[in-house]
């Protein structure tokens, strides 16, 4: 495995690409998955050595529990959670804007805590509770956070909105009554280029009030 990657790197003219980099991470993670799940397909990969081509990836069957639904997917260890969520499961509410953990558009909840799904390998999310924006509303009824965003006009283009809402959701799971300053700090990792921050803060405080009245954040 390692040797083959070494060969490939020789062919790559540019510096280490993101794919190469993540593949490096993935190799370590693969070991963990192999130990716990007993799934490994090294031999298969060796049987199909890469020529002047993309290396045949080793795909690992995985179950991802997203919004309470257990999805069956097959992923290479290097796949990020955002790519699996968006490209394989077509849950496109989660956005990819920088693909390197710098903007927060891809924020989802992992076991109730906000994470950047572009910096999370899909295999590390196996067996954990993943929540995306699609899991928030119950049917036609918006979650109080979504309703607060709508009424406070807390978005313009809407591209960062899913991530913002999930970050707020994460905050209000841990602290149902945040101060403005606490909310500001909790949301500092989510960029909104349209500049709706003041409204997002208003919506956060509004949502916290709605949730306290309603008896907590079950989102």
């Amino acid at each position: 495995m390692k040797e083959k990657e070494g060969n490939k790197k020789g062919k790559q003219l540019s510096s280490v690409s993101r794919r190469e980099f993540i593949k490096g991470l993935g190799a370590g993670a693969l070991g963990t998955a192999a130990l716990s799940g007993g799934i490994i397909a090294l031999k298969e990969a060796e049987a199909h050595p890469a020529e002047e081509s993309l290396e045949e990836g080793i795909k690992i069957p995985l179950r991802l529990k997203i919004n309470g639904i257990r999805y069956k997917v097959e992923v290479e260890p290097r796949y990020t959670l955002v790519d699996v969520i968006r490209d394989q499961l077509q849950l496109t509410g989660t956005k990819k804007a920088c693909d390197r953990g710098e903007c927060g558009a891809c924020t989802v909840l992992l076991d109730g805590k906000p994470v950047y799904s572009c910096m999370t390998l899909a295999i590390t999310a196996a067996g954990r509770d993943i929540m995306t924006i699609e899991g928030l509303a119950s049917g036609e009824e918006l979650h109080p956070i979504q309703q607060a965003f709508l009424e406070n006009d807390a978005f313009q283009c809407g591209f960062c909105t899913s991530g913002q809402i999930m970050a707020v959701n994460g905050l209000l799971k841990q602290n149902l009554n945040p101060s403005r300053e606490e909310a500001r700090n909790a949301l500092a990792g989510n960029i909104c280029r349209c500049g709706t921050y003041t409204r997002i803060l208003e919506a956060t405080l509004d949502a916290s009030q709605r949730l306290r009245k309603g008896g907590g954040n079950r989102g």
Partner: protein, 757 residues
């Protein structure tokens, strides 16, 4: 604000697409997945200036999963450009590359990473050419030529109104400065993207994250040599644009050609690095500015000589050069004006339109200089502005016609908000702006219609509003729905929007130069008025009254003096259809630009049918030891004509202030020998929730005679005054004046050091 008797207009209306955005259901171009879809990627130049000797794609073509590789040989070799007669960019480089990022080849593959891998297998032989990065060096006759021609000047405009030399002679005080502005990126969170699907024999569909579907269609038509009717451009939701998605990009053309070659839909999504380096940025400018005033602050003469660093291609260059000159003085009047603008090619990323399009740069210079002048003469800067303020009915020296103007009222409101003496380390700064409500002229030398709307009434009491307008997140769909609802007396929820699809909707130029509310708003109001007329006629027969006696409001059409006598809107639609023997109830409206043409050479002409105005106060706290600036509050007074949706306007103003905050204080693309060193959000800092100041907005309603319900531009122009207001506040707090953007701690410490010397 005045209280109007409107049931919808002037009320705080959540966006029509709010629920879809809050639930993640809103579909953006990057979300599109079609059966059999391939991923496209672009190979870009590694060199800032080089001749291409050979491109060998053979290895890439053999890579498993690669479906097509294209170079300029697969294109028609037609140049494109924002302004047709200054087209200078090829979809794929033909003979040479002019900046790091210039497009050389494109691939389509079964997966994004396969496409990426193929790029590394394309071999390009270059002959590296001498490059030039500094616009002052590029303008030198001896500089390496970036394009064919005599020199590297991509646009030059010059004009004089009055006589500035005489004006300076008459002045009591003349001040001369040079100001510098930096390159900044739009950073829309949705990267530039498109999906192209070619359906044989000759039809192309393109989904694009774009500001204007018809403009993109025209450009594709010319570049691909396809009739416009064979091309369908559709705008899904757009995740931010700010001027950066107004143009055709090479990747749009590549996606179309790759789709034609492979018979599959092809999707191209720019990486964040590509958005930073290979789309567009704001023009950096070097501004030599000389202003002469009387002792009382009356502006006598203003002279500006500007060099715009354009990067490798023309893009919106001539327009930017014009706008910087056209807004040299507005919202102020001067008796003599002289302007000379050079836009210069350099081997760097291309500069184009961005929120405020060339006006924020010039206004940073002028408002800074006026602040210096006021301080020197012991005048109040607000009084100085009041003295020179344009008024309703004025025609400026360059023939801008001021149909409505609440500028003086903005100044008075701001003046009342100004706090008295401030403690050490705190400061306030003041600055103003004026901006267009779209253009009056056919800048692009085309014959297309300008803004149009069609409204069809449905028997269920709803109406379909069909318009080519491309909402890019600024909330224009909501404004048009509100206008329709107000006119027809129904609810915003009753308006079904069909927008931004060149096969289904009538022509609209798109979201650019703050034109939609004024221009498409007028078209929409006209279409709705026609539907209303048809309905009132039918109802008047039924109720045996004159149509003039009827009112459409709250979902009913009723007799004004006897509200109980009436029928529902839905019944009225059925009635009207029946009375015409089944003809649909359709209204059509348009807005055409005035005849007054702008002459780019002489600088004369009315830029826009109406102008918005604004004034701002910035409050700052300075850590003098570290040079750190914290903007604690911004107070804004904005004349937007009439606030159709005050909630959205406040949001737009806050957005302008957030972006202006970043661009005033820290945003800057660091370029070293044509290479961008900070093409990511860690090294190119954007404002976050912890950075933006509190904003207090006061809306001034001057009610423009030509705007729909009196509305004008809002939200774009405010960035123009945000940047100089912050600069002036820093100077007010510290006495240090910084002549170049961004206003970094390093520069502030240096300015303070110089002051104490």
């Amino acid at each position: 604000m005045k209280h109007h008797n409107y049931s919808i207009i002037g009320h705080r209306q959540p966006a029509v697409d709010a629920a879809s955005k809050a639930t993640g259901q809103a579909q953006y171009t990057v979300d599109i997945q079609l059966p059999g879809m391939l991923w496209g990627k672009i190979l870009r130049s590694k060199y800032p200036h080089a001749r291409i000797l050979n491109i060998d794609t053979s290895k890439a073509e053999k890579l498993a999963g690669i479906k097509a590789v294209i170079t300029h040989k697969d294109t028609l070799g037609k140049k494109f450009g924002f302004v047709r007669n200054t087209a200078d960019q090829y979809p794929l480089a033909v003979d040479k590359v002019r900046y790091i990022g210039d497009e050389i080849a494109a691939v389509a593959a079964v997966a994004e990473d396969v496409a990426e891998e193929a790029l590394a297998l394309i071999r390009v032989d270059y002959e590296v050419l001498p490059a030039v990065f500094d616009p002052l060096e590029a303008i030198d006759p001896e500089a390496p030529l970036i394009h064919d021609g005599q020199n590297n000047i991509s646009a030059r405009l010059a004009w004089e109104f009055g006589n500035v030399e005489e004006g300076f002679g008459e002045s009591d005080f003349v001040r001369q400065d040079t100001f510098y502005t930096q390159p900044v990126n739009h950073c829309p969170l949705e990267p530039h993207a498109c999906v192209a699907s070619f359906e044989p024999p000759d039809h192309l569909t393109v989904w694009a994250s774009t500001q204007g579907v018809f403009y993109l269609r025209n450009q594709l038509s010319r570049t691909l040599d396809m009739p416009i009717s064979n091309i369908r451009v559709i705008r899904p939701q757009v995740g931010g644009a700010f001027g950066g998605k107004i143009e055709l990009f090479p990747f749009n053309v590549c996606a179309a050609i790759l789709s034609q070659k492979t018979g599959k839909p092809v999707k191209i999504v720019c990486t964040r690095e590509e958005v930073f380096t290979a789309t567009r940025c704001r023009h950096p400018m070097i501004i030599h500015l000389k202003t002469g005033v009387k002792k009382d602050g009356a502006l006598v003469a203003v002279q500006a000589r500007i060099i715009l660093d354009g990067g490798a291609y023309n893009s919106t260059g001539p327009v930017a050069t014009y706008l910087a000159g056209a807004f040299l003085c507005l919202p102020l009047k001067a008796r003599n004006i002289k302007y000379e603008g050079f836009r210069v090619y350099t081997n760097k990323p291309v500069c184009g339109a961005q929120r405020g399009h060339a006006v924020p740069q010039i206004r940073f210079a002028i408002e800074s200089q006026l602040d210096i002048i006021a301080e020197t003469l012991g005048l109040d800067p607000i009084e100085l502005h009041l003295k020179n303020a344009v008024q309703t009915g004025d025609v400026t020296l360059n023939k801008q016609v001021i149909t409505s103007c609440g500028f003086s009222e903005c100044l008075e409101k701001i003046k009342a908000q100004r706090s008295p003496a401030l403690p050490e380390g705190k400061g306030i700064g003041f600055a103003t702006c004026a901006f267009v409500s779209g253009a009056t002229y056919h800048l692009f030398f085309t014959t297309e219609a300008f803004a149009n709307a069609i409204i069809q009434a449905n028997e269920d009491g709803t109406v379909s509003l069909i318009t080519g307008v491309a909402d890019i997140g600024q909330g224009s769909d909501t404004v048009l729905a509100m206008i329709t609802a107000e006119e027809l007396g129904i609810g915003v929820k009753d308006i079904k929007l069909i927008t931004a699809d060149t096969d289904l909707t009538p022509y609209d130029w798109g979201s650019g130069s703050s034109r939609v509310t004024y221009q498409a708003g007028n078209a929409t109001k006209m279409a709705a008025a026609q539907v209303k007329k048809l309905l009132l006629e039918a109802v008047s027969h039924e109720l045996d009254v004159y149509p003039e006696e009827l009112v459409a409001r709250d979902g009913r059409i009723f007799v004004r003096d006897r509200p109980e006598k009436g029928i529902s809107f839905a019944e009225a639609v059925s009635l009207a259809q029946k009375s015409t023997g089944g003809e649909p109830i359709i209204g059509q409206g348009e807005f055409q630009p005035q005849e007054a043409k702008v002459n780019l050479q002489s600088g004369e002409g009315n830029t826009s049918p109406a102008y918005s105005f604004g004034a701002q106060l910035a409050q700052v706290e300075i850590d003098k030891e570290l040079g750190k600036v914290k903007v604690t509050k911004m107070v804004v007074a904005h004349d937007c004509g009439l606030a159709i949706n005050p909630m959205a306007i406040e949001g737009q103003i806050e957005g302008s202030i957030a972006m202006g905050h970043g661009q005033a204080l820290y945003e800057e693309l660091i370029q070293e020998k044509g290479q961008t060193l900070n093409a990511d959000f860690i090294n190119y800092r954007l404002p976050t929730a912890r950075d933006v100041p509190e904003v207090e907005t006061m809306l001034v309603e001057s009610v423009d005679p030509g705007g729909p319900y009196g509305a004008k531009e809002s939200g774009e122009g405010i960035i123009v005054s945000t940047i100089p207001a912050i600069a002036n506040a820093i100077s007010n707090a510290t006495g240090g004046r910084i002549h170049s953007l961004p206003l970094t701690p390093e520069k502030l410490l240096k300015a303070l050091e110089q002051k104490t010397k």
